[in-house]
């Protein structure tokens, strides 16, 4: 039965299995979304924000702007997790403006308003709305695997420090 599945599905399934609790989906799309949701959370460990980005004892906010491709997957991915000792908050809004307090933002389309803010902007090359221009991280599919590209200059503009470990995983654009 497994052999009959498409290659991509098999691979994703394997990925999900490897990623533990996040891999519960059974279809290709949700699987991909689940991987991306997990990645969103995992990016946190490899990125450093300026101290000014956080309020004292404030949470770490993950914002999803516009259409939410993750749904509950993201909630599950961050459930019980923390980011550098801070609790994680999930915000979902159509649009986030400057000073909204986001630390990581997933969105599509134009999010120019956040340029220069200490926000890790994440987009998706295959998003229905087109990738976010100027996003620091952009999900891409490569060899049927979810990979990501990192815009180093955008990260610099946003005062973010990207771990070289993460950089080494990024695909060249």
């Amino acid at each position: 039965m497994v052999e009959r599945l498409p290659n991509r599905c098999v691979f994703l399934l394997a990925l999900l299995l490897a990623c533990g609790p996040a891999s519960l989906a059974t279809a290709a799309e949700p699987l991909e979304a689940a991987v991306k949701a997990t990645f969103l959370y995992k990016f946190i460990a490899f990125v450093s924000w300026p101290q000014s980005a956080f309020a004292a004892d404030g949470p770490f906010r993950i914002c999803v702007a516009g259409p939410d491709p993750f749904g509950e997957l993201l909630d599950r991915a961050v459930a019980g997790q923390s980011a550098g000792g801070r609790p994680i908050e999930l915000w979902r809004r159509p649009q986030f403006d400057r000073g909204a307090g986001c630390h990581l933002l997933y969105g599509t389309g134009s999010q120019d308003g956040l340029r220069g803010e200490p926000v890790l902007t994440v987009s998706d090359a295959d998003a229905p709305g087109g990738p976010m221009a100027g996003a620091v991280v952009t999900f891409v599919l490569q060899d049927d695997r979810v990979r990501f590209a990192i815009d180093a200059s955008a990260a610099r503009d946003n005062h973010l420090g990207i771990s070289s470990k993460l950089m080494s995983l990024a695909v060249r654009q």
């Binding site: 490897a18 990645f39 995992k42 460990a45 923390s82 695997r145 080494s168 995983l169």
Partner: protein
């Protein structure tokens, strides 16, 4: 020196001890080094593994097997790494690297830590992200092969090898030294033995050579003297014949005394030649089987007179002495010669010993009879001893010895197939031994009894003055035979002493004219006539011109026969004795 030698003796033991200590130390060092090496290796590999774990954090987080694989593949730069694996949070194999030909890592994660298996070290460390364990990394490295590790101990191994080598070399050297010492000692012993043998041989050879030289010398001298004596004998014979012819033809009476003198000189020459012949062994011997014992006993009186009063004579003859075949006259002359020499060697008196004994054959030699004449006199040096048998060799004053006495002994013995040995040292006296071969022929009893016509002269006391002991002894013996009691004096002084003793009865004085000392026979005759007027005096001389005409003194020319002497003595006794019966 002995301490050092003792230390050297202990060297092999000490070296073995040192080697054992070195071995133990080396082993401990190797063990410590091995442990240190392993600990260090674990530390090294753990650091590598931790770096790897840190490196693959992101790849593990983002399921990037490719990147994780790339990281692992980077390990191939170090050939020590045999295999490595990244395991995900659930323990499954996430990425792996295996060096060519090596065993891959196990498919399931190992617990953190390290373990050694057969020259390999596996270190497993967890991969953590924000304090969460998201997987683990295992790295297996080959330990340096034992050979390679051993190479690092090559210095120590070399040291050990050197130590062993030193021990072996020392042991071998010690053994070789001991062996060499033994060989050397043995060789030294051999050498010393050979040296001794050589020395003995040299001494023996020298002795033999000396004997040979002496023998050759004596032989040569014998031939020389023999030749000369023979020629002289002929000359003397010719001369004697000439004189006799002259005597027959010469009518002049005054020529007779001259002829007489010449004849006397010829006789003296003939006597000398006779002695030379004796030495040269050319004399005519009339050997006959004879008993040495009888001869010696028969000579006892003669010998007693030949020696002085301060010399005691001991004669010792072995019972059952073998007979010898020699010329008895020459034998007696030889014994007399030896006795005279012995007497002269003892100016202060001493003991003269004549020993005769049997000498059974030794080895191939013949049975011999040994006759030894020994004295307690001055003895002689080796140089003298070597020459005593040479004719005319003498140590006596001029005129006291002819130097032919021992030559006669030598010649007689050699001609009788015997030999002479002389043993002497200064101060130890002299012993001359004659070795005469034993004869199997029976001894014939001495033919002819001595003349027993002693009645006439029986009891007459005669003072004989003669410096020559041989002549004196001979004459004394002859006078003794014809019945005289003979008193002897060697010179005029001795004679005067006896004559001065008024209690001593002396019937007649018979003296030689030529004598050593202040007084000669003529002076003695005058003195005697003064001391004992009417004492019959008979002088004898070879030189008749020396004798002055003295009243009542008769002169007997030399050489004379015993019969002539006896007649003259009778005449003198009859004339003077009758004239002075009181004397």
């Amino acid at each position: 020196m002995t301490d050092l030698a003792g230390l050297w003796r202990h060297t092999p033991r000490l070296t073995v001890l040192a080697m054992a200590v070195l071995l133990i130390a080396g082993g401990m060092m190797a063990l410590a080094s091995e442990t240190a090496y392993r600990e260090e290796k674990v530390g090294d590999v753990e650091v590598q593994t931790r770096i790897l774990a840190a490196t693959v954090t992101a790849a593990l987080s983002f399921n990037d097997r490719t990147t994780a694989g790339e990281y692992l593949t980077a390990l191939s730069a170090n050939p020590e790494f045999e295999a490595a694996g990244v395991y995900d949070g659930s323990g499954g194999l996430f990425a792996t690297y295996t060096a060519p030909g090596m065993q891959p890592v196990p498919p399931v994660a190992e617990s953190p830590g390290h373990h050694f298996d057969d020259d390999t070290l596996t270190v497993s460390v967890p991969v953590t992200q924000d304090g969460h364990r998201i997987g683990s990394v295992s790295l297996r490295t080959e330990l340096e092969p034992f050979a390679r590790r051993a190479e690092r101990y090559v210095g120590m191994a070399l040291l050990l090898a050197m130590t062993v080598l030193i021990v072996l070399v020392l042991g071998a050297a010690q053994a070789a030294l001991a062996r060499a010492n033994r060989d050397l000692a043995e060789r030294a012993r051999d050498l010393s033995g050979a040296n001794q043998a050589l020395n003995a041989e040299i001494a023996e050879r020298e002795r033999v050579e000396a004997a040979l030289r002496q023998s050759q010398k004596m032989e040569a001298m014998g031939q020389l003297t023999g030749g000369i004596a023979h020629d002289f004998n002929n000359l003397l014979q010719a001369l004697s014949s000439c004189l006799q012819l002259v005597g027959r033809r010469a009518k002049e009476p005054s020529i007779q005394p001259l002829l007489e003198t010449g004849q006397q000189a010829i006789d003296r020459g003939a006597k000398l030649v006779q002695q030379l012949m004796a030495f040269a062994r050319h004399q005519t011997l009339r050997p006959e089987p004879m008993d040495v014992r009888d001869r010696l006993l028969g000579m006892a009186d003669l010998l007693t007179r030949a020696i002085r009063a301060d010399i005691t004579l001991e004669t010792s003859v072995e019972p059952g002495l073998w007979p010898v075949e020699v010329d008895p006259t020459q034998f007696e002359l030889a014994i007399l010669n030896l006795t005279v020499n012995a007497r002269d060697a003892m100016p202060d008196g001493g003991r003269l010993r004549i020993i005769a004994c049997n000498r059974p054959a030794e080895g191939k030699g013949a049975d011999l009879v040994q006759v030894t004449v020994s004295d307690t006199g001055t003895g002689m040096e080796d140089e003298v001893k070597a020459r005593v048998f040479e004719p005319f060799f003498t140590t006596k004053e001029v005129g006291k010895g002819s130097g032919l006495g021992l030559a006669q002994v030598y010649g007689f013995t050699r001609q009788s197939s015997g030999r002479v040995e002389i043993d002497s040292a200064p101060g130890r006296g002299t012993a001359v031994s004659l070795f005469l071969p034993r004869t199997a022929k029976p001894v014939v009893a001495p033919a002819g009894e001595r003349a027993s016509d002693t009645a006439r002269t029986s009891g007459r006391r005669l003072l004989l003055v003669e410096d020559d002991p041989i002549v004196g002894s001979m004459v004394a013996a002859a006078l003794d035979e014809i019945g005289y009691a003979v008193l002897r004096a060697a010179n005029a002084e001795e004679a005067l002493e006896l004559l001065s003793d008024v209690k001593l009865r002396i019937d007649i004085l018979f003296s030689d004219v030529v004598m050593p000392g202040r007084m000669n026979g003529v002076d003695l005759a005058h003195a005697a006539r003064r001391l004992r007027p009417g004492l019959p005096v008979v002088l004898t001389t070879g030189y008749s011109e020396d004798v002055a005409r003295i009243e009542g003194v008769r002169v007997l020319p030399k050489p004379y026969r015993v019969g002539t002497l006896a007649e003259l003595l009778d005449v003198a006794l009859a004339a003077d004795g009758a004239a002075h019966p009181a004397a």
